[in-house]
């Protein structure tokens, strides 16, 4: 039994302690906004916040997340009010297929918490998610838009 706090709600999950956090979120907690893309910390589709830090959940054992505050893409909006990042994503028409975008949005949200107005170089250094549809041009524009909103 592992105790997890996800988007402010605590869950007791019956899983082997070495199960990747990603699969516990998707299969036990039932939140499928966090995506599987590679399973080996390459693509970032599975990015969540663990105590506020952007983390690739496919490569973190659930036991290491116990007792920490986990935020998934479902937990960003507060009382249905979208965050600046989500609003900028919609206004800039960022997603294509959208599959990578949960992870992208979580990575960007963490970046903007650290650096309110990141430069292009800081974006390049911090955002290493793969997007096979190639939305990077819109991602960059939307990051600046969210930073200036």
């Amino acid at each position: 039994m592992v105790k997890l706090t996800v988007n402010g709600i605590s869950h007791d999950v019956d899983v082997e302690p070495d199960t990747p956090l990603l699969w516990v979120l998707r299969e036990q907690v039932g939140l499928t906004g966090t995506k599987y893309g590679c399973g080996v910390a390459q693509c970032g589709a599975c990015t969540v916040h663990v105590d506020g830090v952007a983390t690739r959940s496919c490569s973190m054992q659930v036991s290491d997340a116990a007792g920490k505050q986990i935020t998934t893409v479902e937990g960003l909006a507060v009382n249905g009010a979208m965050t600046k990042v989500q609003q900028a994503w919609i206004a800039n028409d960022v997603p294509q297929c959208g599959y990578c975008q949960s992870g992208m949005i979580m990575a960007v949200t963490a970046l903007l918490k650290e650096k309110a107005k990141p430069t292009d170089a800081e974006i390049d250094a911090a955002i290493t998610n793969i997007c096979r549809c190639g939305t990077f041009q819109q991602v960059r524009a939307a990051i600046h838009a969210a930073a200036n909103a």
């Binding site: 693509c43 919609i90 959208g98 190639g134 819109q138």
Partner: protein, 724 residues
């Protein structure tokens, strides 16, 4: 992505099967005019439009949305003629089973070859116009006035004489009872208000909050999860596996053989299924292909470069004689490796089989083919099968195949009554692909004493997609798709006039299955032709732009996009210090495309692509904002292949298993892309794929300008070129 030549497009012949059990439509019976209703009871006004009492306009979309924006573009075209309130528009997919039951009322479902809009523009616009006429007629009937005296704007119908108004939502019931008109006129393009406008996509909201359900996210009551491994050597078989070793593992329900080449573990969760599958001892019968190495493939293709026999795709004059008599002869050999699609969402399908019904939920680029695969794998008639299309987490051509659907049904059939979600691991995705074909090209040019191109021979050697996937579409053995961008005319025509031209193909098919990969054969053909043109210009000390322009006077549309990128990048003014430029043009999917690149490259191989200008002439540009996104997005796909993409064979199997060895570009490597959408009108070209192909040759030509080095094998990482 599927490039399909003009003839014989159908691969799945739809029978007139009985109304499927998955049909969400009802018919008003038994008396009076027939009204067809959507699942929520709202009436259909013609087959493409459903209008709800609250004024919501539901537009039917038969093609698949996989990120390319076709759903929004198609809806714009229906709405243009419908004259409805765009803010009230939503969309739905009629199921492939409904299509069978209603004799393909929505036309072709297959979504590839950038065909979504260019091949359905007429009938979807007619669908909108038909509904508009029925709705106006209904209002006119109610008011007892001639329909010609009524007009509509934004879903509100007005009678000119009396000033009376009503709305689509109010007259939809009556309109649904009216016989659809047969004489439907479409608007003159100059009167379009919505087509040509860069409206936002209709399907964004749920993609930013985790609510969007992809096939991989699907949940059904009582559902179990399956993980699968197929024989890593193509053509090999499953020999045996030791079920006892995993039977007791947590959550494991069953281990099943899938066809003759794969094994799957079914468990309560996918993680349990995958963990057990990784622990399962499996013995493969690799067969003779298990001995094939990459060097064998290279040798096979090299042999084709000089082989006597080849299929001729384009012939003008006598290239061989002209080459023999030319003042100067230039020769170069290029090669293009296999590429993996690696859509971000790994392949998956969920199947529920019972003795008299089989249902599948999946992302697919071809709903009709998925339905046919379901019927075949279940052994049930098509009328007892149904496919519910889910949004695709990327397709790029891979989801045009239905192999994963077949597997899901084969597993579900062994567990009747239990829904089974089959999800491939990324490793399975990369090693069980249908890969961008590998080819080589020997380019030979003859020039006269003044440096004019008098003869060109392009000998392509390598893999044919159609021979593997659709042999019926070969023309006397020749695969016409191989010549995309080299063709004498049509949707992928060469843009140069060469007095003596020969383009031929020695078909060499290795055991690795090929498939349609975004852009298909224009990816390598644009490199072969456009880098070689650049070589000729430099060898004869001519400006690469001017050299091309001389050969393009009979190809004004090709020339126009080339000139547009040259202008915008500032070709005639020197670039900033340390920055170098390259240029390229091509044609594919009925659209004319060109690109210019600005790069810098230091002596340690650190490459920076600063800026790319792209031009696309698709004839009618339905949504320029989405076309821009397709262009810059496709550059990421195409440049990832150029920089990193290479799939290789060792002992008959694919070596690259995940993104650590099959890398994909990141945002730090993304050039600024300035996109010129220059629809010249009068024709309908595709936009999802064509522009991808000019990114790589423009960058390669810029690299030559920077270094004097011509790279002819890819990816660039093998030449120690890395992004800065």
């Amino acid at each position: 992505m599927n490039f399909v030549p003009k003839m014989n497009r159908r691969s799945f012949v739809v029978g007139t099967a009985a109304v499927g059990s998955g049909l969400a439509l009802g018919f008003d019976l038994p008396f009076g005019p027939k009204v067809v209703r959507a699942a929520d009871g709202s009436p259909e006004v013609g087959v493409w439009v459903v209008i709800r009492p609250d004024e919501t306009v539901v537009i039917r979309i038969a093609r698949s949305e996989m990120g390319q924006g076709t759903l929004t573009g198609l809806a714009q075209m229906v709405a243009e003629e419908l004259e409805c309130d765009w803010s009230k528009v939503t969309t739905e997919y009629p199921t492939p089973g409904q299509s069978v039951a209603r004799k393909r009322a929505w036309g072709d479902y297959s979504t590839g070859g950038s065909r979504g809009i260019r091949e359905s523009h007429e009938y979807v616009r007619k669908g909108g116009a038909t509904a508009r006429m029925m709705l106006i007629q209904a209002a006119a009937n109610e008011w007892k006035v001639p329909a010609a005296e009524c007009s509509v704007i934004n879903s509100t119908i007005t009678h000119k004489g009396s000033g009376r108004t009503t709305t689509y939502g109010k007259v939809a019931e009556a309109a649904a009872k009216i016989e659809p008109p047969t004489d439907v006129k479409l608007k003159d393009p100059k009167d379009w208000k919505l087509i040509g406008k860069g409206v936002l996509r209709l399907d964004t909201a749920d993609k930013v909050n985790g609510k969007q359900v992809y096939g991989a996210d699907l949940k059904l009551p009582g559902m179990l999860n399956a993980a699968i491994k197929a024989c890593p050597v193509f053509g090999g078989k499953l020999k045996s596996y030791d079920e006892a070793k995993v039977a007791g593992m947590k959550g494991v329900k069953k281990v099943v053989k899938v066809a003759d080449n794969a094994v799957a573990v079914v468990a309560d969760t996918w993680w349990h299924a995958k963990t057990a599958l990784d622990a399962l001892p499996i013995v493969w019968d690799e067969g003779p292909n298990g001995k094939i190495q990459q060097a064998d493939i290279v040798a096979m293709l090299k042999e084709g470069l000089t082989a006597e026999q080849a299929f001729v795709g384009n012939k003008v004059g006598d290239a061989k004689a002209a080459l023999a008599g030319a003042a100067k002869r230039i020769e170069a050999t290029y090669a293009y490796p296999w590429q993996s699609h690696a859509p971000m969402e790994p392949l998956n399908a969920t199947a529920l089989y019972t003795a008299d019904k089989c249902e599948v939920w999946c992302g697919t680029q071809n709903g009709e083919a998925a339905l046919a695969a379901t019927a075949e794998a279940s052994g049930l008639p098509v009328g007892k099968c149904e496919v519910y299309k889910q949004l695709l987490g990327g397709g790029f051509g891979r989801r045009g195949r239905s192999d994963y659907v077949t597997q899901a049904v084969q597993i579900a059939k062994q567990m009747p009554g239990t829904p089974i979600k089959l999800l491939w691991s990324r490793e399975e995705d990369m090693t069980q692909g249908t890969y961008h074909p590998t080819t080589m090209a020997k380019m030979t040019a003859g020039l006269d004493a003044d440096g004019n191109l008098v003869a060109l021979h392009a000998r392509i050697s390598g893999q044919s997609i159609l021979s593997a996937l659709f042999p019926a579409r070969l023309q006397n053995g020749m695969d016409p798709a191989t010549f995309q961008g080299f063709a004498p005319a049509g949707e992928a025509a060469i843009g140069y006039t060469v007095p003596n031209l020969l383009v031929d193909h020695a078909m060499r098919n290795p055991h690795v299955p090929p498939g349609f990969w975004r852009g298909v054969n224009i990816n390598q053909n644009a490199i072969y032709l456009e880098c070689f043109m650049d070589e000729l210009a430099h060898e004869t000390k001519q400006d690469p732009l001017a050299f091309r322009q001389k050969l393009m006077s009979k190809h004004p549309k090709h020339l126009a996009v080339l000139n547009a990128v040259a202008d915008k990048i500032g070709w005639t003014t020197p670039p900033p210090k340390g920055v170098f430029r390259g240029i390229a043009q091509h044609m594919g999917y009925g659209s004319y495309v060109a690109a210019a690149a600005e790069i810098s490259l230091d002596d340690k191989g650190a490459l920076k692509i600063h800026r790319m200008v792209a031009a696309t002439d698709p004839g009618h540009a339905v949504n320029p904002a989405q076309i821009e996104r397709q262009v810059s997005g496709s550059f990421v796909y195409g440049l990832s292949a150029l920089l990193y993409g290479e799939v290789t064979v060792k002992n008959g199997r694919i070596e690259q298993e995940n993104f650590d060895t099959y890398n994909s570009m990141r945002i730090s490597e993304m050039p600024k892309v300035e996109s010129i959408v220059m629809g010249s009108g009068g024709f309908w070209g595709g936009v999802g794929e064509p522009t991808i192909c000019v990114a790589a040759p423009a960058v390669l030509n810029a690299i030559f300008a920077a270094t004097g080095k011509r790279y002819r094998t890819f990816p660039l990482s093998q030449h120690n070129i890395r992004t800065a």
